[in-house]
């Protein structure tokens, strides 16, 4: 589904001493099946932006269009459930939303709310469970017996089982160990490729933005500071510094490498291993 923001502003608690404008005149388009990373300093409005996409927040002014749904302030009430069925959200620390007695019932919860046909539910649970790499035994356990990382996987399985057309990820790997982070990001990327899911990822890890995104949107103080392909965005270290963001380590390394040896290596999502090999080869040649 295509997502468009037209002149969207959002103010929390308007008309009180606490009023705070979190988004200012956002204009952006996310194409169908695109993978977009949203980066920015804490408080720059990333989560606020995301919550407009499934109607948790309605713009204070301007409008958001998601597929055929239009969200704007003047609009009469509509069935947001239809929208939320198609837009899956993995919140920050999604394990905090678990509440059911067993893992199975928790994964089932959203599907029942959205009236997925009964006979589809069980296969979808099994599929999602395999995707997040959990054993079948956990299904009967209470989610609260599991480790933090497993709970996170259960919560993610609940979202994936819905087979959403749009997947919204708000720092989905925060607080996980490095292997866990890698596994989860690879999973989302695979789903994005296999199902053509439009994916919007908020992340603090520039390496993830670089590795997975077709396009990066840089937010600062509620406005868009920059957008473009990872190559374009990371060619702009000054603007990045203005948004309080770092360069991805691998790009810094390649830049230093070029400075030191005068050899240019283009970053094409190589693994660290392949990159090291490539460096050694290039150095041998000279």
């Amino acid at each position: 589904m295509e997502i468009t923001f037209k002149d969207v502003s959002y103010t929390y608690q308007p008309n009180t001493p606490f009023s705070h404008q979190a988004l200012t005149n956002m204009n952006l388009t996310i194409r169908d099946q695109e993978f977009v990373a949203v980066v920015g300093h804490t408080g720059s409005g990333k989560s606020t932006l995301l919550q407009h996409i499934n109607g948790l927040l309605i713009p204070s002014s301007g409008e958001v269009q998601i597929g055929s749904f239009v969200l704007s302030k003047g609009q009469k009430k509509q069935d947001l459930k239809k929208l939320r069925e198609k837009v899956g959200v993995v919140f920050q620390y999604p394990e905090h939303q678990l509440f059911e007695e067993t893992v199975e019932r928790d994964i089932r919860f959203a599907m029942e709310n959205f009236h997925i046909p009964k006979e589809d539910i069980q296969p979808r649970i099994m599929e999602a469970l395999a995707q997040v790499n959990l054993e079948e035994e956990v299904l009967a356990k209470s989610p609260f017996e599991l480790s933090g990382g497993q709970m996170r996987r259960v919560a993610i399985a609940g979202v994936l089982a819905m087979k959403p057309e749009v997947l919204i990820l708000d720092e989905p790997t925060a607080g996980l160990d490095p292997q866990g982070q890698q596994a989860i990001m690879d999973l989302f990327y695979r789903i994005h490729k296999e199902r053509g899911t439009t994916t919007i990822l908020v992340t603090h890890q520039m390496a993830d933005a670089l590795a997975y995104a077709d396009r990066i949107i840089v937010l600062a103080k509620g406005s868009m500071l920059m957008e473009g392909t990872p190559e374009q965005v990371f060619a702009n270290p000054d603007l990045l510094a203005e948004a309080n963001l770092d360069m991805p380590e691998v790009l810094t390394l390649l830049n230093h490498f070029e400075e030191r040896f005068g050899i240019h290596i283009a970053y094409q999502r190589q693994s660290a291993h392949d990159l090291a090999k490539e460096m050694i080869e290039k150095l041998r040649e000279t």
Binding site: P17, H96, Q97, L98
Partner: protein, 265 residues
């Protein structure tokens, strides 16, 4: 939290009232609550109203915001007024509809009581609007200090109060986050039958309780790790100290109240 409005929620600032010692504010409000009940004529009521509005002006908060903050109480004020008008049967009859009569005494009394009520709410909301919760607890603990002799655990009570106050915003924040997460999973908190709405609360309450217990456990652990052992021999980082503005305020307040005694009948 944040999208909820809390009645009399603290608004940080540097106004005259903000800078007063919380004990000064507490004592003034505590005595004011009693004194309001002694107002018995138009002049004395107006005098107290004048005092209240002067205090409002000194907070430098928008009057509109303060009034909005006490909206839930407006209903009670109007209700009190109507009740008195209907129930009181004193003085000459002003209006008679069938067997139902409105007496002058009813209107007078109704106006007085609801006016009193409004003054009380207004002045007490000024305390919470201009004083951080922690300041209020510190002030209470100091003012109630003498009761320790009676073996009342003043310090512990104050600590309980400050911990609860400290976690209200956190819990509201948490509530908002979890209800957004469940709404994204298809829970509908707003529409549907009464029964389905009550069921919709379960996915909200369970995670909320779990996180509250977790927080309580963490807090207890952290306090113990830092050697907290109750009030015995404990000193304070923030010492409350009366300053010149407190003495000035006390004198002015006293003068206002003496004047009030002359104004009432």
């Amino acid at each position: 939290m944040k999208s909820y409005m809390i009645i009399g929620q603290y608004v940080p600032g540097h106004s005259f009232i903000h800078r007063l010692d919380p004990r000064t504010k507490l004592m003034i409000i505590f005595t004011f609550v009693f004194i309001v009940f002694f107002a018995n004529n138009l002049v004395s009521y107006s005098w107290l109203t004048l005092f209240a509005f002067a205090a409002v002006l000194l907070t430098q908060l928008r009057l509109g915001y303060i009034i909005k903050g006490i909206t839930p109480v407006w209903f009670l004020i109007v209700f009190t007024l109507l009740l008195h008008i209907i129930v009181t049967k004193e003085g000459p009859i002003l209006l008679e509809i069938g067997s139902f009569a409105i007496h002058q005494g009813g209107i007078e009394r109704g106006l007085m009581i609801s006016w009193r009520f409004m003054l009380l709410v207004l002045v007490t909301s000024l305390l919470t609007l201009t004083t951080a919760p922690m300041e209020i607890t510190d002030a209470l603990e100091m003012l109630l200090g003498p009761f320790k002799k009676l073996r009342i655990p003043v310090h512990e009570l104050a600590l309980m109060m400050s911990i609860s106050l400290r976690f209200i915003p956190t819990l509201l924040d948490e509530t908002e986050k979890i209800s957004k997460a469940q709404a994204s999973r298809g829970v509908d908190f707003r529409t549907g039958s009464m029964k389905s709405r009550i069921y919709a609360i379960v996915p909200l309450l369970v995670p909320l309780f779990i996180s509250a217990f977790k927080r309580a456990e963490d807090l207890a652990m952290a306090m113990e790790a830092r050697g907290y052992r109750g009030s015995e021999g404990r000193t304070k980082l923030r010492q409350l100290q009366f300053k010149r503005i407190d003495y000035i305020t006390a004198i002015v307040y006293l003068a206002v109240m003496i004047m009030f005694l002359f104004l009432r009948q």
